[in-house]
Symmetry: C2
């Protein structure tokens, strides 16, 4: 892990950009975090739109997390942002767009091609990032995962014992094999659902919520489309993480 820049934001949060091998990432720590009082960590999942494009929303989530005493970190997904393009995933995205524009049902083949290679490649990267981040003296456990892509969150929650709680964004473009993995997830979950999400099937999202094996799981459904998550939902998720990681 190689720190490439460091700045202090106006609210005292320390923002560091880093690279982990070829993977760019960003780490935010509360000004108050020290080796003697290390902060728990929330991994900020993100859609495959690139760190640069997502920065304004990511820094907003990071400010909330650091205000609650957490460190927050994210890394660029394979094939996104400044990382080399990934022809197979680009092709799957083009197939998805074509099917959606034609009003066709999204086939299992498209969903698998879009998601499974990304999960297979991204999850070990997030785990490597965890190794590096947890070696910093000002960051301790436990660890939470927050946000999209939900299939990555499910796999991480299943295979990575350092992750103790996850706040996920309900989607329906989830491979059947990942829905099966969800049954093996047992950590506390907070799942956000946009009731009229134009990109997701509501019933499939409800079925996925039902599938999770966790004894403590909460579904919070709000009105509006994919990008219409109300501001107060950020507060509910923050309190979820404070309950489980604080």
């Amino acid at each position: 892990m190689h720190v490439t820049s460091e700045q202090r934001l106006d609210d005292g949060v320390i923002e560091r950009t880093f690279t982990l091998g070829e993977i760019p990432g960003i780490l935010w720590t509360p000004g108050s975090a020290t080796a003697s009082a290390p902060a728990p960590l929330i991994l900020l999942g993100l859609p495959p739109l690139g760190l640069r494009a997502m920065y304004p929303r990511l820094v907003g989530r990071a400010r909330q997390a650091t205000a609650d005493g957490f460190a927050a970190a994210t890394i660029e997904l394979p094939g996104s942002g400044d990382r080399p393009r990934w022809a197979a995933v680009d092709q799957a995205r083009a197939d998805l767009r074509r099917a959606m524009q034609a009003g066709e049902p999204i086939s299992d083949e498209i969903i698998d091609a879009l998601t499974l290679p990304l999960v297979e490649k991204a999850v070990p990267e997030w785990q490597a990032a965890l190794d590096a981040l947890l070696s910093l003296p000002e960051i301790g456990g436990p660890v939470g995962y927050s946000g999209g892509i939900i299939s990555i969150g499910i796999r991480l929650a299943r295979v990575e014992p350092r992750i103790k709680a996850a706040g996920l964004f309900a989607g329906s473009l989830v491979p059947r094999s990942i829905v099966e993995e969800a049954r093996q997830v047992t950590i506390p979950l907070h799942v956000l659902l946009q009731w009229d999400d134009e990109g997701n099937d509501r019933q499939a999202a409800l079925d996925l919520f039902d599938a999770f094996g966790s004894k403590e799981k909460t579904l919070e459904a709000n009105m509006g489309g994919h990008t219409g998550v109300p501001q107060f939902a950020g507060g509910t998720a923050a309190r979820f993480f404070s309950r489980h990681l604080g």
Copy 2:
């Protein structure tokens, strides 16, 4: 409205029992509420188990409300507690129990007989209670309705313009005509659903949530049965009322 007792609870909350004609009720006000700084009011809905039996849970909800700066009040439902028995509703409850014990589907006739007369009689009583409570100098608007019976909450939200927000407990034993009324409800709603509620059909409860006409409505679904609402759900509902009535 005739106050029959008054005491100050250990946290400074003033608890008054009262009668409104033949109807017993309880009012809790924050110690800080005065004529110059009147408190907004939350009406605490309750199941038909009687004020006395429900008191421990009601006073817990009232303490939360008063801690947030609200007054809280409730009245006995017709046919419950110390009020005269109501043969028709008792009969409908017996029919419901018999059907449930026999594992039969609950017919529309039973649901209507159980609920519609209660709604017709209780809603004007809650409105009369509102008239009396809002005439007290230490209580002001706006008003929220919180809790069961959801059919009473739906009717009140539809017909009573002084009610500006409602926190409801999702149920499925709701007459079809009341589901139609839900389409005309437009105030902000916070709806709690217990995912494995043994007394309610999940899909019917989701359909009812979908039916509400409100632009701002949130569904919070938690694991567990009818009485297993987790403690943190009280906090989410409290923040909902603070956003809309505070």
